[in-house]
């Protein structure tokens, strides 16, 4: 019987481990000094940073496995921080209610993408490219060059049940990853997502409600992007229209590095989160290497290609 923790995720874990080992060795400090990379504070920082796009990458992986693509999550994140900030700061709503409306915005955004793709029959790339501009624009229209300072109304050094709010993102990411990994591998809904992405016509012939499955994928992607947005707003204490700019590419790259095939039908949620962590470590460690600042983006690009190429070589060897 195949384990849900099967080979593909293990190779992503191996890459992550290699990466951590490399930076641990490369950034080894002089005698008596603390390690700049391998310490509790920095690891928390990596998780905190990765979780923002890691949460959204879970949704991106589901959409990609379903045979689609979603370019909107960066904009949905920004719009969610703005809506949550607007209600919380300007209208004095309680935080939970503001955040709930923020999540509803994400769900609504997912439904709009799904409607354009399923009903208006637009190609997913085009539909979500347009939607991406619309939500980003909406965020700017609401804020009009201002930003909402949530931190002013939030407690300083905030702890929930004894846990620092800094842990909010990582915990939410890991819990959601576990939930959706289970849904995708152990539930009929997940199987249907794989089936639709693998062969849409066969899925239709098999009695799978293809439109409903696709809609669910985009709505979940919207919801998870909104969760990222709420976490970002709370942890960073800001609601701002230009947050998470360009994140959609990091989010898609996380899913792809984690094994999702843009041809659909292949990938995993756990892989996407591991992919996000691989990027998180790179983004965290590279600036600590003297002189590497300018190479940062280039290295990230090379790593994406290298991992996907390696993956294809492995897949080819298997078959």
């Amino acid at each position: 019987m195949k384990k849900w923790w099967h080979a593909r995720e293990l190779s992503t874990v191996a890459i992550l481990a290699l990466e951590v080992l490399f930076f641990t060795w490369y950034l080894w400090p002089g005698a008596g000094q603390p390690h700049p990379f391998l310490n509790v504070g920095n690891v928390l920082l990596i998780f905190k940073y990765s979780s923002i796009y890691g949460i959204a990458a879970i949704g991106a992986a589901i959409v990609i496995i379903c045979g689609g693509i979603d370019l909107a999550p960066g904009s949905v994140i920004a719009l969610t921080t703005v809506v949550t900030g607007l209600l919380f700061v300007e209208h004095g709503w309680p935080l939970w209610a503001s955040a709930a409306v923020g999540l509803l915005v994400g769900i609504g955004a997912g439904f709009v993408s799904a409607w354009l793709i399923v009903k208006a029959r637009l190609p997913p790339f085009i539909a979500t490219l347009g939607v991406m501009g619309i939500w980003r624009g909406a965020a700017y229209i609401i804020t009009e060059a201002r930003f909402y300072d949530l931190s002013a109304r939030l407690p300083r050094d905030w702890h929930i049940a004894g846990v620092s709010v800094d842990w909010l993102g990582p915990i939410v990411m890991l819990v959601l990853a576990a939930v959706f990994q289970l849904l995708m591998t152990k539930y009929q809904w997940g199987r249907s997502v794989f089936a639709v992405g693998g062969n849409e016509t066969a899925a239709l012939f098999s009695g799978i409600p293809v439109h409903r499955v696709k809609t669910s994928a985009y709505v979940i992607a919207g919801l998870l992007a909104a969760v990222s947005g709420v976490v970002l707003a709370v942890v960073q204490g800001q609601g701002k229209a230009d947050l998470a700019n360009g994140y959609e590419l990091d989010i898609i790259a996380s899913a792809v590095v984690g094994g999702a095939s843009l041809a659909g039908g292949r990938g995993s949620v756990a892989g996407a989160v591991l992919g996000a962590l691989i990027f998180g470590v790179l983004r965290n460690a590279l600036p600590q290497i003297p002189g590497a600042t300018f190479y940062d983006r280039l290295i990230v690009g090379v790593v994406v290609i290298a991992i996907v190429v390696m993956d294809q070589v492995l897949v080819r060897r298997e078959s």
């Binding site: 152990k186 009929q188 012939f205 098999s206 009695g207």
Partner: protein, 498 residues
């Protein structure tokens, strides 16, 4: 010697020995057939010839000069033109652009010489008697003409050897006639033809010599004049072809389980009424364009009827989607298993349990139960696979087809609709699939089998409904139907009712 020689070719894909020492020759100027069941190694042989796959051992020689297998271009430059089974056309480009794709005629400074390509295309099309303009886009060209355009593409560059892989599968008889006239004409002009096909009547009509392959090995080359189709079939499979099996249960009466009444979907078909009783196998025969597949798809809810009713056990059912159909107790085994039937990203186990799970609307997946269901199907249908974790593309065509049937049989349907259930599968698997259908009918399932394979319908069906141009033209009892009687109805005769 002159001609094409395959010399001790060996090829393995992992543990699968696709070719184990194939040696035979095609003489210059002859029409030579290569026949064999699926999995006999014909496709691998052609891929080696085209330069897509490299042999592990051995070589292919044209006029005693070895081919280099550096890629498809090598074969082309040596005058070997291939017409593949799959359509390899560019739908949005013109016919002329398709013919010259990758080998365009260019003028000075690399500019495309459209006029020259157009003129050459026109000449080729005229030569093949294809009434298609070089400027029309490929997507507007009919299947039969597209086939001939591919022949034209193969011929465009001083072709000495023309290789055709199952070229007639989607053609009507008249279109086959046209293709064969063209091939005979080419042969008369000295072109060597290598013809790969399942269809023995066509092979005997066209070819001078016939090479039989089995399980990746060369069995023998036969002269047409000195052999018979029976001999060829025996050497292909090592046994006699299946006979009609009479079933006692089929004769019984009883009310219809599936009742199709005056079903109409213009322009595909009109006023189609068919009854299928529990335990009965009804065959629907028709040529391409008769509307036979469309009837099945409409009954299964994949297309909406203009008018008419479908009743199950006497009660009208409204079926608007495949989901409704599955819930009502229908199952459809579609014709195109690659496109409509299988998920190549899912394991056999998951493929086999999917429609059942969808129908039951289960939430959490019970792996043990799944495993039992999948194992039952693999055992009942004798699906040959080392493991349920395998992907469907590792199976042969016949086993893939059994998986498609199995995934629907697992839903426990009351009515089984089958569209060309044995298309492209070998003789052995065909017989097994027929037995599966018979045993399901014996258990009380109502089976409606659509097929354009006349021997299949005659061997299998208790009653035969013949369609032509979207209408039911007659009904015959399976026991006393002859191929002639069915074919007359399918082609021209006035209606009769059995």
């Amino acid at each position: 010697m002159t001609g094409l020689t395959f010399n001790d070719l060996h090829k393995s894909f992992g543990a699968v020995h696709a070719l184990r020492g194939v040696t035979f020759s095609v003489a210059r100027g002859e029409a030579h057939a290569c026949v064999g069941e699926n999995g006999a190694g014909k496709s691998t042989l052609l891929k080696i010839l085209a330069g897509i796959v490299r042999p592990d051992r051995g070589d292919v020689r044209l006029d005693d000069v070895p081919l280099h297998f550096s890629g498809p271009r090598d074969a082309l430059s040596r005058g070997i033109g291939m017409v593949y089974q799959e359509r390899l056309t560019f739908p949005s480009l013109s016919v002329a652009a398709n013919i010259f794709a990758g080998r365009e005629i260019v003028g000075r400074a690399g500019r495309l010489d459209e006029a020259a390509m157009r003129a050459r295309t026109q000449a080729l099309l005229d030569q093949l008697h294809v009434p298609v303009s070089p400027d029309v886009r490929m997507e507007h060209v009919s299947a039969a003409h597209a086939q001939l355009v591919e022949v034209a593409r193969a011929l465009a560059f001083d072709c000495q050897v023309l290789v055709l892989d199952e070229p007639t599968t989607s053609l009507t008889d008249a279109e086959v006639d046209h293709l064969f006239r063209v091939l005979a004409d080419l042969k008369a002009r000295g072109v060597t033809i290598l013809f790969v096909s399942h269809r023995l009547p066509e092979v005997f009509r066209l070819c001078d010599r016939i090479t039989v392959m089995r399980d990746g090995a060369f069995v023998g080359t036969f002269d047409r004049a000195a052999t018979s189709p029976e001999t060829i079939v025996r050497s292909m499979v090592g046994r006699e072809p299946p006979e009609r099996v009479e079933r006692a249960a089929a004769a019984g009466g009883g009310p219809p389980r599936l009742s199709i009444r005056q079903l109409t979907r213009r322009p595909s078909f009109e006023d189609v009424s068919i009854d299928v009783r529990a335990g009965e196998i009804v065959g629907v025969f028709g040529l391409v364009g008769s509307g036979r597949t469309e009837v099945l798809e409409t009954v299964f809810g994949l297309a909406r009827a203009d008018s008419g009713r479908v009743a199950l056990d006497g009660e009208d059912v409204a079926i608007g989607s495949a989901r409704d159909a599955a819930r009502a107790g229908l199952a459809l085994v579609p014709e195109d298993r690659q496109r409509l039937g299988l998920f190549f990203n899912l394991s056999l186990r998951h493929n086999l349990v999917l429609p059942r799970a969808v129908k039951a609307g289960v939430g959490r997946i019970h792996e043990a139960e799944e495993d039992t269901i999948a194992r039952t199907q693999v055992r009942d249908l004798a699906i040959k696979t080392p493991s349920l974790a395998r992907m469907p593309d590792t199976l042969s065509g016949g086993n893939q087809q059994k998986v498609v049937a199995g995934k629907w049989l697992a839903t426990g349907p009351r009515v089984l609709l089958l569209d060309e259930p044995t298309k492209g599968v070998d003789v052995g698997a065909k017989f097994e699939i027929h037995n599966i259908i018979r045993s399901r009918a014996a258990e009380g399932m109502a089976c409606l089998v659509v097929s354009s394979d006349l021997p299949e319908i005659l061997a299998l069906a208790d009653r035969i409904v013949v369609m032509r141009e979207g209408r039911v033209r007659g009904e015959l009892a399976g026991r006393d139907a002859t191929d002639e009687a069915v074919m007359r109805l399918a082609t021209h005769e006035v209606e009769v009712r059995a």
